[in-house]
């Protein structure tokens, strides 16, 4: 048992602590309970499951430079203070490098797919998905993206679907 296994320093404190904690648990649930749409979205997330696709995992995020994913900037230094940052995904035979920029609360995505001769490219977000135009060098630009979880996916000419990790932008 790894919870509530403490020993109170004074007799009677343990019961009283339990009473205090119960009161706070009730208060948090009343004042700041999980919104019902958050609970519903969690249940709905299961429908995004794609058993056939492959995943390009997040390999670098300039927001977490120096922590769990290491970003090695080559040219432009990522500068969160200027409202843009860099994300990279790799896996399923592809790589996606993308810059996220923010202007007046809306986001601009500039990036490039490499390693795929994709036929279709999509940006998926909480609102649904939209097809994105990718030029023959793999480059794309998407304007007016709202904050929230997003992912990209592409279907190659041989029918294989590769999806990036979801990221909160």
């Amino acid at each position: 048992m790894d919870r509530d296994d403490f020993t109170a320093p004074h007799p009677g404190d343990q019961d009283r602590d339990g009473e205090i904690l119960d009161a706070y648990r009730r208060i948090f649930a009343a004042v700041d309970g999980t919104p019902t749409d958050v609970l519903a979205a969690a249940r709905e997330a299961f429908h995004t499951r794609d058993l056939d696709g492959e995943i390009a995992v997040l390999v670098a995020d300039s927001r977490t430079a120096g922590t769990d994913t290491v970003y090695l900037p080559v040219r432009a230094e990522p500068d969160p203070a200027q409202g843009h940052w860099l994300l990279s995904f790799a896996g399923g035979g592809i790589r996606v490098d993308m810059q996220v920029g923010e202007e007046q609360g809306r986001l601009l995505l500039l990036g490039m797919f490499s390693g795929t001769s994709g036929e279709e490219y999509y940006l998926e977000s909480a609102d649904g998905q939209r097809r994105i135009d990718v030029d023959r060098l793999g480059r794309f630009a998407v304007e007016g993206v709202a904050h929230g979880p997003v992912r990209l996916w592409c279907r190659s000419s041989d029918g294989i679907r590769v999806t990036t990790d979801w990221v909160t932008i």
Binding site: A23, R25, E102
Partner: protein
């Protein structure tokens, strides 16, 4: 729900069992929300980071190496996403929020005294005392008191603390809380009925 039950649910979800998925979300969504709120995410950002954690789990279902530790995996995902959102919104340098004190200058996300959600004067006093705790204590208690209660290992993952420090820190925070509370608060019989909307303090 113990670790074995969680691992069984994960196996069922891998086989496409939507009811098992619903059970996992019922088990953990409140906990994940409490983590996001303990890091002072606003409503929209908290919703986004919790949703990202669930979406990412769907993608990585088959790759979760220790299904019995799912709660810690989800908690870690939410914590990291909170860091990312914080860096985006606060325009801080990378690395800064890793210092636990980096979160402490932010305003609290809920002000129940404005919302009339506290049911009587005792709750109002409890809430005021909570607001006077150190931010680190507020964060720990907020997460520990999620419903259903998380395991210490999950709380440790959520707050990037050592598991062994959770119990002693919790006790210290409770001691502080007791010092802040009127000694009689839990010794007197509960007043009957509602005390009405608590007095606003400005």
């Amino acid at each position: 729900m113990d670790d074995v039950e969680i691992a069984k649910l994960v196996l069922r979800v891998r086989q496409g069992d939507a009811a098992a998925w619903a059970a996992l979300t019922a088990r953990y969504t409140n906990f994940l929300w409490s983590i996001a709120r303990s890091f002072r995410m606003n409503d929209a950002d908290a919703a986004d980071v919790v949703q990202t954690a669930w979406l990412r789990l769907v993608e990585h279902l088959d790759g979760i190496r220790e299904p019995e530790r799912l709660g810690s995996w989800l908690a870690t995902t939410v914590r990291r996403e909170c860091y990312n959102v914080r860096r985006r919104t606060a325009r801080v340098e990378p690395g800064e929020p890793d210092d636990p004190d980096g979160w402490d200058g932010l305003p609290a996300t809920a002000d129940p005294l404005d919302e009339g959600l506290l049911r009587d004067e005792r709750d109002a006093e409890l809430w005021r005392a909570f607001g006077r705790l150190k931010p680190a204590c507020q964060r720990l208690l907020r997460v520990l008191l999620a419903d259903p209660p998380p395991h210490y290992a999950e709380v440790a993952a959520a707050l990037d603390m050592a598991v062994g420090s959770i119990g002693p820190t919790r006790q210290r925070c409770l001691d502080c809380l007791r010092d802040l509370l009127d000694g009689d608060l839990f010794d007197q019989p509960r007043p009957t009925g509602r005390a009405g909307r608590p007095t606003r303090k400005r």
